[in-house]
C-alpha cells in the first residue's frame, strides 16, 4: 500500500497513524449506497472501511471492470482476482469508462496526485518541463475523466509545500468537482472557489497546515478539530489488512 503507516501518533485513547486518520475521515464522508470509483491504497482502504462501518451498501467500482466488488482483504492491485470473484458484475474496460463512468453512474471518485493547486486541479503527469521532466510521473490513468464524470471528487494527499503548490507543472485533471481534500494534517474544502482549511486533525495545528502549503492557505473562521478515529473505526480498519502485508 502506498503511504503506509507514517507513525504519527494521535491524542486519545488509541494511537493511530496519519494514514489511518485520512482513511477514517474519507470513509466518514461516504453515504450509505454511494457508488464509489476507487483506486488502490488509501481510497480502497477508506471505501472498504465505510462498507464495514456506517455504509454497508456502499458500492465499490474498480476501473478494472469490477462492479460491486466485496473484497475480504484489501487488494494490492485494482485487478486482483478477488475483485472479480466477489463482484456483482465484471465488464470490459471500454464499457467501464463509457457506460459506467462517463454514463454518470458513479457518485464518488477518489483521486491522489503529486501536486494540487488551490482550485483542486491535480498533477500526476510530470514534475518539471514536459519535454525534459525532472520526474516523469505515471500519468493520468483514469483521473482526467473521473474528475469530470463523478458527482463528488475526494482527494487524499499528504500535505507539503512540494505537493500543495502555487502553480502545477502539468494539469492532469480539473478541480471543478473536488468536494474535499483529506490530508495528513487536516481537511480542506472549496469555499468561494478556493480550497480552505476547515478542520485540523488532533495533534496538528493550523500553522502546521499553513507551513505545509505552497500558497497562502485560506483558513475557515469556524475551523474545527477533526474527530479522532474511534476505536471501532480503527478496529475495522486494521481488520482489513492487505494482501501485500500478509
Amino acid at each position: 500500500m502506498n503511504g503506509a503507516a507514517a507513525g504519527v501518533s494521535g491524542v486519545g485513547a488509541v494511537a493511530w497513524t496519519a494514514d489511518e486518520m485520512m482513511a477514517v475521515e474519507a470513509s466518514r464522508r461516504l453515504r450509505n449506497g454511494d457508488v464509489c470509483f476507487v483506486g488502490i491504497g488509501l481510497p480502497s482502504l477508506a471505501a472498504n472501511l465505510a462498507r464495514r462501518t456506517h455504509a454497508p451498501e456502499c458500492v465499490l467500482v474498480y476501473e478494472s471492470g469490477t462492479i460491486g466488488a466485496k473484497p475480504t482483504m484489501l487488494p494490492l492491485s485494482i485487478g486482483d482476482g478477488e475483485l472479480a470473484e466477489t463482484a456483482d458484475a465484471v465488464v470490459s474496460v471500454p464499457e467501464m469508462f463509457a457506460y459506467w463512468l462517463q454514463g454518470g453512474r458513479i457518485d464518488v471518485g477518489f483521486l491522489g496526485a503529486a501536486q494540487i493547486d488551490r482550485h483542486g486541479n491535480l498533477n500526476s503527469t510530470v514534475i518539471g518541463d514536459y519535454q525534459t521532466p525532472k520526474v516523469r510521473l505515471p500519468g493520468g490513468g483514469g483521473a482526467p475523466e473521473i474528475a469530470s464524470s463523478v458527482s463528488d471528487v475526494f482527494v487524499m494527499l499528504r500535505q507539503s509545500p512540494r505537493a500543495f503548490v502555487e502553480r502545477l507543472d502539468f494539469k492532469t485533471s480539473s478541480g471543478e468537482r473536488v468536494r474535499v481534500v483529506v490530508t495528513d494534517l487536516g481537511i480542506l474544502e472549496p469555499r468561494g472557489g478556493e480550497l480552505t482549511l476547515v478542520s485540523v486533525h488532533p495533534g496538528s495545528t493550523v500553522d502546521d497546515a499553513r507551513a505545509a502549503t505552497g500558497w497562502d492557505l485560506k483558513v475557515a473562521p469556524d475551523v474545527q478539530e477533526t474527530e479522532s478515529p474511534r476505536p471501532a473505526e480503527l478496529e475495522a480498519l486494521r481488520a482489513l489488512g492487505t494482501k501485500g502485508r500478509e
Binding site: V90, S92, G141, S148
Partner: protein, 270 residues
C-alpha cells in the same frame, strides 16, 4: 483461422521491426512471455501501445526495443515507478523514448474505435487539462446539441498480443475473470497473437468469459505461466512479491541488464 504454433515462431512470422504492437491485459493476463520473446528476437523501433505499460514494457524499453510508447498510466501498480521507462524519458537511456499519452478513457475509446473500424473514438474527456497540448486528440462538434467532444485517433496495431487461459484445437480462444480491453485489442489489430495457459479439446462456456473465434486470430501459442508475474484467473495468482522485487532490479541499469540476460536472453524460447 489461427494456427497453433510456438511463441517464437508466432513472433518471428508476425512481428517486424518498426511495427506498432499492443500487448494488453489489464493487471490480469498480461502477456509477459510474449514480451520476453520480443526481447529475445531483438525487435527494434517498435511503437508499443498499452494502457498500463507495467513491468512488461519497462523491460522492452530498458532493452531498447521501443521507439515510441502510447499509454495512459505508467507506474508499477501498488509499488511506485517504472524506472526503465523513467530512465528513457528523463535520461534517454538506452535510447530516447517518444511518448503519446492519453487517459484510460481515451485509450479504451481508441481501442474500441479500432475494433469498430472507425477512424476515431468519441468521448467526453481531456477537457480542462493540459493533455490536448501534449497528445493526439481532436475535438468534434455534436450536430444536434453543439457540444464539443473529444476525438482520439483509433488504435490500429500491426499486431495485437494477448494472453488467455484456454484455446481449443481449432484456435478458438476463451478468457475469463477481468477481461479488460483484450477483445478490442485483437479486433483492432491487423494481426493477432494469443498465448494461452493450455489447449483443451473443448472450451467449456464460463460466466463472464470472452470468446474469440479462431478466424479473428492469426497465431495461438501454448505458454503455461505466460502471464507471470501477472496472473491467470483460475491458474495462478498475481506474484505481488515480484512487482515489489522489480523496484530495486529496475532502478539500476546494470542490475536490470543482468537480470534480463539471466531470465530472458538465456532462457529458452517456447
Amino acid at each position: 483461422m489461427a494456427e497453433i504454433v510456438s511463441l517464437s515462431e508466432a513472433v518471428r512470422e508476425l512481428v517486424a521491426d518498426e511495427h506498432t504492437v499492443a500487448l494488453e491485459g489489464f493487471t490480469h493476463l498480461i502477456p509477459h512471455a510474449a514480451g520476453h520473446e520480443l526481447i529475445r528476437q531483438g525487435r527494434r523501433d517498435l511503437t508499443v501501445i498499452r494502457m498500463t505499460p507495467d513491468v512488461v514494457y519497462d523491460q522492452l524499453i530498458g532493452m531498447g526495443c521501443v521507439r515510441k510508447l502510447v499509454f495512459s498510466w505508467g507506474g508499477n501498480p501498488g509499488v511506485g515507478s517504472l524506472h526503465r521507462l523513467r530512465d528513457a524519458v528523463e535520461n534517454g537511456w538506452p535510447a530516447p523514448l517518444e511518448l503519446e499519452e492519453h487517459s484510460h478513457a481515451g485509450m479504451a475509446a481508441a481501442y474500441a474505435a479500432g475494433a469498430s473500424n472507425l477512424p476515431f473514438g468519441l468521448l467526453r474527456g481531456y477537457a480542462d487539462t493540459d493533455l490536448p497540448a501534449r497528445t493526439r486528440v481532436g475535438f468534434v462538434t455534436c450536430p444536434f446539441t453543439g457540444e464539443q467532444l473529444a476525438a482520439v485517433p483509433a488504435h490500429r496495431p500491426d499486431v495485437g498480443i494477448i494472453h488467455a487461459q484456454q484455446a481449443d484445437r481449432h484456435g478458438n480462444v476463451q478468457l475469463w475473470g477481468i477481461t479488460g480491453v483484450q477483445k478490442e485489442t485483437v479486433l483492432a489489430s491487423k494481426r493477432a497473437i494469443v498465448t494461452v495457459e493450455e489447449i483443451v479439446d473443448e472450451l467449456e462456456p464460463r460466466p463472464g468469459a470472452v470468446v474469440l473465434p479462431s478466424w479473428v486470430i492469426d497465431a495461438v501459442a501454448c505458454v503455461p505461466g505466460g502471464a507471470h508475474p501477472s496472473y491467470a484467473h483460475g491458474y495462478y495468482e498475481r506474484d505481488n512479491d515480484f512487482y515489489v522485487a522489480w523496484e530495486p532490479i529496475s532502478r539500476d541499469r546494470d542490475v536490470f541488464t543482468a537480470w534480463i540476460r539471466e531470465h530472458v536472453l538465456e532462457a529458452v524460447s517456447v
